[in-house]
Symmetry: C2
Subunit: 213 residues, 2 copies
């Protein structure tokens, strides 16, 4: 098909707003999502590009209370270790940060990749095998933006030992965790990252990250 | 700020179309983009989330003809090696694929990460250091979608030795290549990936990638 829909300036302005208001959410309402929401978001996620069309993402909807408790306990241990590694002057602030919505978010999605997938025939992966994980990240971001457009928040938890999460969720051997996502209605909206509001870090002007060669 | 703009169903429908029509483009018109386009896209890219607000993306606009020629030659060598590794029954098809727009795209952006950045204080990276590269991927996808909404195509080239590209572009020591992007007006539009149209691989129903636990 060659008749791409045209995206007008009104759409582009609202897309910019979507980028600006998409947050990493850690404060969730415990209210359940409609039953159709998560399957639809997972379908949208799979419209992402992937290296060699390998579609390496493996999406695990975690509903079992005991498995969720295992993941929470992995997070709590990893987070305590991370706190212990903070320099003295930042430890107090670190301890006050809320770094996950694991206790409140009604939906948990663990995103893995299967590096052994035969889909794509290895195309594009020979010199940069990390592109298999990058493909899953593209799917996550697609889901994140689609969720934000519905007023639904997503929080990416990375303070986890990936192998322990794989074991807690009993996924096929070889799958590698890319992200553990908390999903639900956010308690607040903002166009400023929570870590900036909390005084942890500031956004740097984009031009500072650009070079010419 | 708490008054998030509301995204209506019309916007969400068009966002779904954007996801559906965003392609990895390898066939470009050589026509130049407006001078303001790339700086604006790079600014939009930096609205992406990043681990610990580390903003690890480093965006290199490659304009020098000799440096572009070096990257092309790295690609050609890597692609010849990849072709040699193809099983006999796929080698002919592989050889016919067009896998980059390096010769035609008017703009080239190399995306690196600086894993040594002090921004973010290491938050979120202790157990999953790969999240630093993932943050750059989120910036790339943001740029990709913003470009698509303007009718501009992006092609991600990964058939490259990352260290050789870093050397060819003379970037600071320690920076790691995440992607080399070709950007320009696409010669064609489609809602079907080029690798699917070429018979290399097919999209799998998303439900096949979903598990419950």
């Amino acid at each position: 098909m060659t008749d791409q829909p045209s995206f007008d300036s009104d759409f582009r302005d609202r897309l910019d707003q979507l980028f600006a208001w998409r947050r990493d959410v850690r404060r969730f309402d415990t209210r359940a999502l409609d039953e159709a929401t998560i399957p639809a978001l997972l379908t949208t996620a799979c419209t992402a590009p992937s290296v060699g069309l390998s579609q390496p993402w493996r999406l695990v909807r975690v509903r079992d209370a005991a498995r969720r408790a295992s993941v929470r306990s992995i997070f709590e241990r990893c987070n305590a270790q991370a706190l212990a590694l903070q320099p003295t002057e930042r430890a107090g602030l670190y301890a006050r940060l809320k770094l996950s919505g694991l206790n409140e978010a009604p939906e948990h999605i663990a995103v893995f990749v299967d590096p052994a997938t035969e889909l794509g025939g290895g195309l594009g992966r020979a010199t940069m095998p990390e592109t298999i994980g990058y493909s899953a990240v593209l799917a996550i971001h697609t889901l994140w933006l689609a969720a934000t457009a519905q007023g639904i928040g997503v929080g990416w938890v990375s303070i986890l030992h990936p192998d322990e999460v794989a074991q807690a969720l009993d996924v096929p051997a070889g799958w590698r965790l890319v992200a553990y996502l908390c999903i639900g209605y956010p308690l607040e909206h903002s166009d400023t990252p929570e870590l900036e509001r909390a005084g942890w870090e500031r956004r740097v002007p984009p031009a500072d990250f650009v070079l010419e060669r």
